[in-house]
C-alpha cells in the first residue's frame, strides 16, 4: 500500500486512471491470474453478450469459475461490448455460470470494470432491471464463495450485480459509486462540468470505500502487468482459502451480515 501513501491522488485523478487506456484489459487479467482459462458462452436464453466473459480456469491448481466484464480493445470490440457495459444477457450468463460453479462446488471470481449496465432500447426491452435484480437475489444465497475484484470502474447496479458476494477488493486506481461523477453533477447540480467536485463528494476512491467497509482491501498497482496479476492472484488465493474453511451456512451468514450492516 506504499504507493497509496506516497502521493495522495485526488478523486478526479483516480477516476481518470480507472478509465485510462493504460488500464489492464480483461484478457490480460484472465491470462495473468489464471491457468488454462476456457471460455463458456451464452446465457442459454437466446443471447451471448461479449461485455461479459465467463469460463473455467485453474487458480493455484483449484478449479474456479471466472466472470469478467470486458471493455474490448479494438474499436470493433469496444462497439460490440458497448465499452464494457453489459446487456441483460451478460448478467444472465454470469448468473448461469455462478449457479454452475455452486453445483460443482467451486469458487466464483468476478473481475469488474464497467461504467454500468448498458442503457439502451434493447436492454430495456430485455429486462435490464430484472436481470440485475435476479443476480442480487440469487447470489445472496448461492452456496459457494464469491470474490470480486474491481479493477477499473465500478459503476452502480451494473457493477453491484457482480460484486454482491463475500469479498470485494479494488485496485488502487479504481472507483466504485452509485453513478458517474458526470451524471451525479448533472443530476444534482445541473452542471456536468463539476465532475471533479462530484468525484470528491461521492467518496468513490478505494481508500474511502475501505474506511466505509464497502470493500475488504486495496491492491496496489504497478506498471508491470505481470506483477499486478501476481498481486491480485495472491489476494484471491488467500481469500479463497479463508472462505473455503467455512461451512456453507457460515459462509452465507457472513455474506448476509456483510450487506445487512449498511
Amino acid at each position: 500500500m506504499a504507493s497509496l501513501l506516497d502521493r495522495k491522488k485526488t478523486a478526479a485523478q483516480v477516476v481518470a486512471l480507472a478509465r485510462s487506456d493504460e488500464k489492464i484489459a480483461a484478457s490480460a487479467l484472465l491470462k495473468g491470474i489464471f491457468t488454462d482459462f476456457t471460455e463458456l458462452h451464452g446465457d442459454q436464453e437466446g443471447a451471448d453478450d461479449s461485455a461479459i466473459i465467463g469460463g473455467l480456469a485453474y487458480l493455484a491448481e483449484q478449479p474456479v469459475t471466472v466472470i469478467a466484464t470486458n471493455k474490448g480493445q479494438t474499436t470493433e470490440e469496444k462497439m460490440q461490448t458497448h465499452f464494457g457495459c453489459p446487456e441483460p444477457a451478460g448478467y444472465r450468463k454470469a448468473l448461469r455460470l455462478a449457479k454452475q460453479a455452486a453445483k460443482f462446488n467451486r469458487p466464483v471470481i468476478c473481475l469488474v470494470n464497467t461504467a454500468g449496465a448498458y442503457p439502451g432500447k434493447s436492454a430495456e426491452e430485455n429486462g435490464q432491471g430484472e436481470a440485475i435484480a435476479r443476480n442480487l437475489l440469487e447470489l445472496s444465497t448461492l452456496p459457494t464463495p464469491i470474490i470480486s475484484i474491481i479493477y477499473g470502474e465500478g459503476g452502480s447496479g451494473g457493477a453491484l450485480a457482480l460484486a454482491c458476494g463475500d469479498r470485494i477488493w479494488m485496485l488502487e486506481n479504481s472507483t466504485y459509486s452509485v453513478l458517474s461523477p458526470e451524471g451525479f453533477a448533472a443530476i444534482l447540480w445541473k452542471d456536468s462540468s463539476r465532475a471533479a467536485e462530484a468525484a470528491e463528494v461521492l467518496q468513490l476512491t478505494p481508500e474511502k470505500l475501505l474506511q466505509q467497509k464497502v470493500i475488504e482491501g486495496i491492491i496496489p498497482e504497478s506498471h508491470s502487468q505481470r506483477r499486478l496479476c501476481r498481486a491480485i492472484r495472491k489476494v484471491i488465493i488467500a481469500e479463497m482459502e479463508q472462505l473455503q474453511r467455512l461451512k456453507p451456512a457460515e459462509l452465507l451468514e457472513q455474506r448476509h451480515l456483510r450487506f445487512r450492516k449498511f
Partner: protein, 285 residues
C-alpha cells in the same frame, strides 16, 4: 380528498404537468394527464386519482394510497432517520421539506395491514419523498418489513414508486439494493408470498432490485417502469426512443409484468391473491 382541502387559490385554471411535478403534490382545480395530455376537472379524477381517458394513475402520496388500500394499519419504524452519510450539502433541508410534504420519515411507509381482513406486511413508496429515491432508511425499513414478515410468516405487498438510488447517500444507497434483495430472498426461501405493485415511476436501482423480485408483479396502467432514464438512453445511443418504451404495457409485452391492474381494482385484486395463497391447515387422517 385531503389534498384538495388545502386548495387555496381558486383562480388557478390549469396546472400543467411540469418538470418539477415530482417535487410537489399537485393541487388545483384542473389536472392534466401527463400520459394522454387531456385536462380534467379534479373531481373527475375521482377518489383514486386516475385519468378518466387513459386510466393512468396519478402520482399520490403513500398515505393517500394507504387510505383506500387497507382496512387497518399499524405503522413500523416511523422514528428512523438518515445519518446523512456523505454530509451532503443542503440534504438536511431537502429531507425536512420531503418529510413535511409526505408526513413520512423517509421514502417508504411500512407496517402491518389488513386488506379485506387478511393480514399482510405492507410497504408503500412515496413518489413525493425526494422522488421516492432509495436511501439508507428506505432500505432499512424495507429490510425490516421482510424480516418481520418472515418472522410472522406473513406475505409482503410492496407498492413501488422511485426515481432510483438516493444520490445524496452515494454508495450507501447502492448497498441498499443488495441488503433488501437478501431480505427478499430469505422471505422467499421460507415459501412466503411477495407481491410487487409497480406504480409511476419505478426506475433505476429499485427496478434493478426488489421491484423485479416478486412472485407476482402487478403494475398500474401506463406507469413508467424501466432501468435507465430516457434521456440517458438517448444520449448514450444517439437513438430516439419511443415514448411508450417504458410504459407498463410495453414492459408487460416483453414479459416482466404479470398483470396490469387499474387502481380502482387494486384492493380487490390483492385481496384475491392473498386469499388464493392462504396456507390451509392440512389435517392428516
Amino acid at each position: 380528498m385531503q389534498l384538495f382541502d388545502e386548495l387555496k387559490t381558486l383562480g388557478q385554471k390549469h396546472i400543467k404537468a411540469d418538470k418539477k411535478a415530482s417535487q410537489k403534490v399537485p393541487s388545483g382545480l384542473w389536472q392534466a394527464c401527463p400520459k394522454c395530455h387531456q385536462s380534467f376537472y379534479y373531481k373527475d379524477l375521482g377518489q383514486y386519482k386516475t385519468c378518466p381517458n387513459c386510466h393512468y394513475g396519478f402520482r399520490i402520496t403513500a398515505r393517500e394510497r394507504l387510505g383506500w388500500l387497507t382496512d387497518h394499519f399499524e405503522e413500523m419504524d416511523s422514528d428512523l432517520a438518515t445519518t446523512d452519510p456523505l454530509n451532503f450539502p443542503n440534504y438536511g433541508k431537502k429531507l425536512e421539506k420531503a418529510r413535511h410534504l409526505t408526513k413520512l420519515n423517509d421514502s417508504v411507509l411500512t407496517g402491518k395491514a389488513l386488506i379485506n381482513e387478511q393480514p399482510v406486511m405492507l410497504g408503500i413508496m412515496d413518489p413525493y419523498f425526494i422522488m421516492g429515491s432509495l436511501g439508507t432508511i428506505t432500505g432499512e425499513k424495507l429490510t425490516r418489513l421482510f424480516e418481520k414478515a418472515l418472522k410472522e410468516k406473513l406475505p409482503v405487498i410492496l407498492c413501488t414508486a422511485s426515481g432510483g438510488a438516493r444520490m445524496q447517500e452515494g454508495i450507501f444507497s447502492l448497498m441498499q439494493m443488495a441488503k433488501v434483495s437478501a431480505a427478499v430472498k430469505r422471505h422467499a426461501d421460507a415459501g412466503l408470498l411477495y407481491i410487487a405493485v409497480l406504480t409511476d415511476p419505478t426506475t433505476g436501482g429499485v427496478t434493478a432490485s426488489f421491484a423485479m423480485q416478486a412472485d407476482i408483479t402487478l403494475a398500474e396502467p401506463r406507469a413508467l417502469i424501466g432501468f435507465a432514464g430516457k434521456r440517458v438512453i438517448e444520449q448514450t445511443t444517439f437513438q430516439r426512443i419511443p415514448d411508450d418504451l417504458q410504459d407498463a404495457e410495453s414492459v408487460q409485452h416483453h414479459g416482466f409484468v404479470d398483470q396490469i391492474v387499474p387502481r380502482e381494482d387494486l384492493k380487490e385484486k390483492l385481496a384475491w391473491l392473498l386469499k388464493f395463497h392462504q396456507v390451509k391447515e392440512v389435517t392428516h387422517g
